[in-house]
């Protein structure tokens, strides 16, 4: 990192090794929390919105302090605070079945809105419901509105059911921006909309986007200088949240890119919490969000084995920049609409499969790992078919593990580790077979293979993915984890009032 972005000494903790850019990212995030905490005394209005379809440039036009509830939840997960918050929300009537991001956020609000950094966060003045790629978003903000009376403005983003953005879809989003969203933001903030201001922010965004893509695509090198999943969540932090469009973000990505390009020149692999990663043995593509409550332990299971994630779909949840999208200041509202419409979880399943296959090819990956998240139907429903299709099309082995976003009850380290180790063995076998000139069926192939007619399956209620144990596709880190209580499937739950 250059002298333009010195790290605060107080943030440097010797026991954890991070790239300078990671420290800077943390500083930016913490600074945003401080801005939120002091927004009232600074006379600023506060907005909340979601990461996919996050219209940060637009919100900045109205001088809002900007909160992102998913980020709050994951930050609380990283800091081991989310488990209690989730249980508080469940005691308040939320079902054990539903999204734990929502429950962690509601639990935080119930507990006095003490944010991840310990500062009290203000109640939002406006909830910008960018309804993009996740049905739960709608209920999430309805719940907050119902409990706290915050005003909500809906931006409905149609789904790419046919795998493309039709003009009607874009026009619909633009109309909502013009006729509903912008007038509401003007009224709440008291600031008149200035499209040239928006254009300026979008120009700034584009610079950062160019540099982010260069960073993410650096993983095509061998060894990869970055981890495109665990490391990438640091890299995407500023651009997916409250900083895209700000000069600070532009600077962050410029410096990050320089840092990564230097690592490429030096032939270095990724920086991990334990220092530089050793020999790169496995190159993986990962589908699905990470687990946050055991994030470092989870990552360690990879780098201890020499596994680097060269690309991940999660790092595209806030925008598909690597496939060419850039915010376009010459057509600002249309560009914002296309940004929302193009987020990863707004893609249909065939498009998601195409994207993963392309990553496996372009990044020369050994295979696909799916981290299936209990909380997230948007990601998870259909992932077993994704696994099967990717294996069929690429011939590369795939594996399936199950965790959760921020509910520590659903992270079973032993199960995840076992499955990963088995998966790496499988990759080795496949390599050995390929080297020997024959390609016997891999465990992963068997795992992914869906049953022939009449085949016997594990009964429901057993390990999920419950198809073909003892394979990897099945039951990787099977839920429920040790000690967790579940209502039995097929039976009524006990919840009654």
């Amino acid at each position: 990192m250059t002298a333009t972005a010195p790290m605060p000494a107080s943030l440097k903790k010797p026991q954890v090794v991070k790239e300078d850019a990671m420290w800077l990212q943390k500083e930016l995030i913490n600074r945003n929390y401080h801005e939120l905490a002091t927004a009232r005394e600074a006379g600023r209005k506060v907005s909340a919105t979601f990461v996919p379809g996050n219209l940060n440039e637009l919100l900045m036009c109205f001088d809002f302090a900007r909160s992102l509830p998913e980020t709050n939840a994951l930050q609380n997960g990283l800091r081991k605070k989310s488990g209690r918050l989730i249980m508080d929300a469940e005691r308040d009537g939320q079902s054990e079945d539903v999204c734990t991001y929502v429950k962690a956020d509601l639990g935080m609000m119930m507990g006095g809105e003490i944010g991840p950094t310990g500062e009290v966060l203000p109640r939002p003045d406006i909830l910008l419901l960018s309804y993009t790629g996740c049905f739960t978003f709608m209920k999430w903000f309805e719940l907050i509105r119902h409990k706290y009376g915050c005003e909500t403005v809906m931006l409905h983003v149609p789904y790419q059911g046919d795998g493309k953005i039709a003009p009607n879809m874009r026009d619909y989003v633009v109309k909502q921006l013009k006729d509903t969203v912008i007038p509401t933001l003007e009224r709440i903030s008291g600031v008149k909309f200035d499209i040239d201001r928006l254009r300026q922010y979008m120009r700034e965004s584009q610079k950062a986007e160019d540099d982010l893509v260069a960073v993410l695509q650096s993983a095509k090198n061998r060894p990869s200088p970055i981890d495109g999943y665990f490391g990438a969540v640091y890299y995407i932090g500023p651009i997916f949240t409250a900083f895209r469009g700000m000069p600070e973000a532009t600077q962050y990505y410029r410096v990050l890119r320089q840092e990564i390009e230097q690592r490429v020149r030096e032939g270095k692999g990724p920086v991990t919490p334990d220092g530089d990663m050793g020999e790169e043995k496995y190159r993986l593509v990962v589908e699905g969000p990470p687990n946050w409550t055991s994030f470092r332990d989870f990552w360690k299971m990879f780098y201890d084995e020499g596994a680097v994630v060269v690309s991940s779909t999660y790092a595209k949840v806030g925008g598909l920049y690597d496939f060419g999208f850039r915010h376009d200041a010459d057509r600002p509202l249309e560009s914002l609409a296309e940004y929302c419409l193009g987020c990863y979880t707004n893609l249909n399943l065939p498009s998601r499969i195409d994207m993963i296959c392309r990553y496996i090819d372009e990044y020369q990956a050994d295979g696909l790992l799916i981290n299936s998240i209990k909380s997230c139907n948007s990601f998870s429903a259909g992932q077993l078919l994704i696994l099967r299709e990717v294996e069929r099309r690429t011939g590369k082995p795939a594996a399936f593990i199950e965790t959760d976003l921020v509910d520590p009850r659903y992270f079973s380290a032993a199960n995840v580790k076992n499955r990963l180790e088995s998966y790496f063995q499988m990759v080795n076998q496949k390599r050995a077979a390929a080297a020997a000139g024959s390609v016997p069926p891999t465990l992963a192939a068997a795992a992914a293979a869906l049953p022939p007619e009449g085949a016997e399956f594990a009964p429901r209620g057993g390990p999920s993915a419950g198809s073909v144990p003892p394979t990897l596709a099945a039951a990787a880190a099977a839920l429920p984890p040790e000690g967790a209580e579940f209502a039995p499937r097929g039976g009524p739950s006990a919840r009654t009032r």
Partner: protein, 392 residues
């Protein structure tokens, strides 16, 4: 009249349709004239008028119920995802849905949304459409978007049958469905008035028959059932009048509905098979049909968890209206396990009910729930408590 059927005979016919997981009624309808096509649709709502106007049979697909052994379908889903997609996949992979020429997947939740993509991959020879609906209710914004979506569907169906679907055909179909909606409204009004004469276990089957029968035939069936049910007095019990809500997608097993009734509850309103009552008013059948269908959707739809409430004050208004207009004494929240829309909506609705002093109870189910004793006990306790409270 000698050909007048009893209510029991009508219900028996409906039960047979309900039990038939091979959709023989659809197959017979298709076989009775050359070139006929059938289009499946999932909950909650699709404009069936368009399918009908194309000369095709709209077929409601509601999972496999409690009689289907799900074998292959489980291989596609993790344990924490609801049951309806896995049993629907099972129906498809076992050839039971071969009679369908296409499938519509309405915008209801992420699971059904993603199922549309799975269908595209698994059944490449079928027409598949994710049918999006607006969450903005302004005619000039959401209406414009929705009218275009309708236009696309209309064009697709026209291509499928080999001739465009005309406005006249559409208006005629709107008329047909207006009649069907009127019959269903009459059925619900009758059940509310005399729930002992038309128990929900029967009403549900009569309604469910409309998922596989042509609408004209179903309308006649509903009317026939009301008349037949009213012709033979049945004993009136001192049951609690309740509204059942949360069951708008994955269906509860019939045994669950019976258990609630046996436990001392009259179900006087519900959100089962909501497609039959989604549009709450007649759609004008003499205008621009797509514009009229759009207006009806925007301004006269039922409320449900999959639909955005624009204002905080809107939350629970529809359910409260059901309670008040039907004279209900309580609400049973019955939602499928892992149903995000219903389960996230529930605390808000419960709060509204509590503020209006409407008692409620809640449980979860799956379409193949087999153990009814806990539900019977819970519903019975709830009914008893209502009676105690109302007597106090």
């Amino acid at each position: 009249m000698s050909d007048t059927r009893s209510a029991a005979a009508i219900v028996e016919r409906c039960q047979a349709l309900y039990d038939d997981l091979d959709f023989n009624a659809v197959r017979q309808w298709k076989a009775s004239a050359p070139g006929r096509k059938a289009i499946g649709y999932m909950p909650i709502y699709v404009p069936r008028e368009l399918v009908h106007a194309a000369g095709m049979l709209p077929v409601g697909i509601l999972g496999g119920g409690d009689q289907l052994e799900v074998i292959q379908g489980d291989a596609y889903y993790q344990s924490y995802i609801c049951r309806i997609p896995r049993s629907t996949i099972e129906l498809g992979l076992t050839g039971r849905l071969d009679c369908l020429d296409g499938m519509l997947f309405p915008s209801i939740c992420d699971v059904i949304r993603n199922l549309s993509g799975m269908w595209q991959i698994l059944f490449k020879d079928k027409y598949v459409r994710y049918f999006d609906v607006p969450q903005n209710y302004e005619d000039a914004i959401g209406g414009t978007f929705y009218t275009h979506e309708l236009e696309v569907l209309r064009d697709d169906l026209g291509r499928l049958r080999g001739a465009p679907v005309t406005d006249d055909e559409l208006n005629a179909s709107i008329g047909v469905y207006n009649e069907n909606r009127a019959a269903v409204r009459a059925l619900y009004a009758y059940r509310s008035e005399k729930p002992w004469q038309a128990p929900t276990s029967e009403v549900y089957l009569v309604l469910r028959a409309g998922m596989v029968l042509p609408p004209e035939e179903h309308t006649a069936l509903v009317r026939e059932y009301i008349a037949a049910a009213d012709s033979t007095p049945r004993p009136k019990r001192d049951n609690a009048r309740i509204v059942m809500t949360g069951s708008f997608c994955e269906q509860p097993p019939l045994g669950l509905i019976k258990s609630i009734e046996m436990a001392g509850c009259y179900i006087v309103d519900d959100d089962l098979l909501l497609v039959t009552r989604w549009l709450q008013a007649d759609v004008p059948a003499d205008g621009d049909p797509l514009v009229e269908l759009s207006r009806a959707f925007l301004h006269h739809s039922a409320a449900t968890a999959a639909r955005y409430d624009q204002k905080r004050e809107d939350k629970g208004v529809f359910l409260l209206k059901q309670v008040k207009t039907r004279g209900a004494e309580g609400v049973i929240f019955a939602a499928p396990s892992f149903c995000d829309p219903a389960l996230l909506e529930r605390p808000m609705l419960q709060d509204v009910m509590a503020k209006h002093k409407v008692p409620y109870t809640a449980f979860k189910y799956a379409e193949n729930t087999g153990q009814m004793a806990p539900i019977r006990e819970q519903a019975g306790t709830f009914a008893d408590s209502i009676k105690l409270w109302s007597a106090a």
